[in-house]
Symmetry: C2
Amino acid sequence: MAEERPLVLVTCTAPVNIAVIKYWGKRDNDLILPINSSLSVTLHQDQLKTTTTAAASRDFTEDRLWLNGEEADVGHPRVQACLREVRRLARKRRGGSAEDTAPLSLSYKIHIATENNFPTAAGLASSAAGYACLVSALARLYGVEGELSEVARRGSGSACRSMMGGFVQWQRGERLDGRDSLAHQVAPEMHWPELRVLILVVSGEKKQVGSTAGMQTSVDTSPLLKHRAEVVVPERLALMMRHIRERDFEGFGQLTMQDSNQFHATCLDTFPPIFYLNDLSRHIIALAHRFNTHHGHTKVAYTFDAGPNAVIFTLADTVAEFVEVVRHSFPPATNGDQFVRGLPVGVASLPEELLTAVVTEPVPGAVRYILHTKPGPGPQLVDDPSQHLLGADGLPRCRA
Amino acid sequence: MAEERPLVLVTCTAPVNIAVIKYWGKRDNDLILPINSSLSVTLHQDQLKTTTTAAASRDFTEDRLWLNGEEADVGHPRVQACLREVRRLARKRRGGSAEDTAPLSLSYKIHIATENNFPTAAGLASSAAGYACLVSALARLYGVEGELSEVARRGSGSACRSMMGGFVQWQRGERLDGRDSLAHQVAPEMHWPELRVLILVVSGEKKQVGSTAGMQTSVDTSPLLKHRAEVVVPERLALMMRHIRERDFEGFGQLTMQDSNQFHATCLDTFPPIFYLNDLSRHIIALAHRFNTHHGHTKVAYTFDAGPNAVIFTLADTVAEFVEVVRHSFPPATNGDQFVRGLPVGVASLPEELLTAVVTEPVPGAVRYILHTKPGPGPQLVDDPSQHLLGADGLPRCRA
């Protein structure tokens, strides 16, 4: 980083995560401190990732931000909070001197470009990956290392869990300043090699109530949410960690479903009530229970966030069969090309008695496609300069 | 009741009730003791009632029961529990002597016929009215007076609340034998003359999980239900009684909606989850909130039981307008004849700005009809012998 280099570019990728013990409700809106701890599985970036390039140059005249090629408001308070926090850490690292003598001046303006490899409209929690990626890229740019989940949390609560791979806990913390509200890895992504994730991307229906507004209303009005945060979650968190440690799918799956249901129950207990589950979600839930009942134990487990897509956890040996069950239950509207995406899925033929017991009242076209993925690692630095989203001029590259 | 009379006939009617603080969960399945107190509004029998004729004769060779003209199983444990309890009270009243010397012997076999003036399939809690009516008729037959809610409770928990008119509390009670788990009138039906009830009878969809099985699963699996019963309901009950005493529709309506939502939240927190609300229920809930928001205060309040129909509480001056809103939101499939039933509804024309703000995405045919009713009295003795459901031969009369 010699002075003659006019432009410094860093590109990172970051993953999506899916909570199995849900986060819903803040005890501090500004610092984004949760009312309860949560636990998630980081998904593999081969299927779902955000890529962010951050660039700094003394030639830039203002901070700028592009999301999926469109210029966006860099002044967004959460973007600014992340930027401010990374710069604060950089300043601290540089000895806290008021004099800024490092090659990459903290006073340089920055350009940021970010892109998802999945449609934002698909309702796949893009803000967690987005802020995790932003913070990772900025930290690399400024040479900041170490604990960054606290910074990512300032962008979006669940983003702190995308700062690590595998199984990640976001600890509620006790301090008012939030310094102990951090993410920790419970187990790395290779801990449970058979674990698989199927995302059922459903058709239509926009999110009705945004999660920031929704959780605030829940905190203000739901007596059940308060009880969940104070009493239920601490017990469940300990239990979930044990299930993960022991790779106990029966326990993991059941608790995942129960916690998803309880999160949506607290939404319903909110006033006015918030509904993220619809008749199709009910259909998928009932299908999963019929499938498990037919097999006599928990082979698939659903979880739903603040949107209509269903996420199914299962083990590798069940993927082909369950995908076939979904195909029969929600026959693809078109010829079925691209109905299954992501990791390869084997062929399964369904026994007649399984079809009869499990596939009732098919709903054609209700599921747009299934994305097959698995647990994956945390944010990655992209070494290949051809992958930068910003060109030598510091502006977004035209990408095919 | 001289000995020469071969047949003694008694006919009673009994009302349906709608809980505003919901009952869900038993602490004793046999005695039907609830985990929390509940509170309901008794609906007027001009619109919804069960009629039951009980007859005793020394000529009857066996106990028999007819429901809506079809013979049914008189050996049903809950029917038998009611019969046994009424006879026990009669025996006690007659001095507990082993010798049965009263004109109507307790050893005579009985015939019972019962009918609803509304379709059972409409999902309007018929068991509460049914058991309240059975117990009322049997008590009259045997000359038993006084506290009968305990007996009705043995037929169906919520039946005890149909033993009184107006606003009725079913107290949880503390005793293991259930002797203090009784219904009490909080206020008579004329206490709040402006209060009105609109039942939106919706199309299709049978109840998926019966309430007896459902509430048992909830007690066994929902941590939120336990908290609701122990902590939330006692507070809400006191508050609801105050709202009723003060005829405070704002408070009454809001708490009614909140408690309905919380009941359904505990169903969702049950494992496997139970869903009684569907997309149409969500539609009606959202409509009610938009209507209230438009008016700037609570003018209508929804409540849903373990079935798909919506019950709306409102005041007399709002009925015509809200019915018109429902007609616009769920345009009747046919020409709209009989779309509104029960008490007369005035004509209202909706201001354009109300229509724009409140009626979004109409769903034709989703509501079959609206039944307009109001709070009403408890069980009634029918004096007119032409109204008996059993003829002089002790068998069901053919009715037009």
